[in-house]
């Protein structure tokens, strides 16, 4: 089945220690998104890629970076995790952008990040 796969499901890192979360997709979608969802809150968009074109949300901290080496993979790098970065990180894909997109985003199962 075509899907969005996130690894690992659970990640524990130490305060200030860089961590990378990964996302892969077999849907061949052009657009990949990273959302942060803190406990009992709505998902919040961090950034997205349209093909190789990177789009950062204005309020995404510099501590968060992303890489998309090819269509299938996208990575979220947190350079110096703080306690406040503990959250579920959701990767999502869609086939097209904006007004051309009639489909919902397809979400992966998420990576739950704990910072100790």
């Amino acid at each position: 089945d075509a899907m969005v796969i996130q690894n690992p499901r659970y990640q524990v890192t130490q305060f200030g220690k860089p961590v990378t979360l990964s996302c892969s997709q077999t849907l061949n979608h052009n657009v990949m998104y990273w959302y942060q969802q803190k406990s009992s809150q709505a998902p919040k968009l961090l950034f997205h890629y349209y093909d190789k074109d990177f789009n950062n949300e204005a309020d995404t901290p510099d501590n968060f970076q992303s890489r998309r080496p090819n269509t299938s993979f996208c990575f979220l790098d947190i350079r110096s995790p703080g306690l406040g970065d503990a959250a579920m990180y959701l990767c999502a894909t869609s086939s097209r952008l904006g007004r051309l997109n009639n489909s919902p985003l397809h979400f992966g199962n998420g990576t739950r990040l704990t910072v100790t």
């Binding site: 657009v31 709505a42 999502a92 904006g98 007004r99 489909s103 919902p104 979400f107 992966g108 998420g110």
Partner: protein, 112 residues
Amino acid sequence: ELKVEQNPLFLSMQEGKNYTIYCNYSTTSDRLYWYRQDPGKSLESLFVLLSNGAVKQEGRLMASLDTKARLSTLHITAAVHDLSATYFCAVVPGGSQGNLIFGKGTKLSVKP
């Protein structure tokens, strides 16, 4: 800036009862999504509403969209325990690149 407001944020229902969740948004949009999230899990797409007056139904859930009122509703008919979850509405702002802006979610608990 687009704001998406859901109410209620918490809803405790008895099985067999009906209820409606409301989603208001503040600026122009012509597409609205409803998602379900179980505890510790990812988001599952329920409905995509693409035009004014759109109505979609799946099982005990029915969603509608009024773009003039900037309002969507998710109606639950004869609730069952399996519907217990958090329900999010999400809106794509007009002219955006398709980024979803989510409401805060409605945590639904259906009790026997």
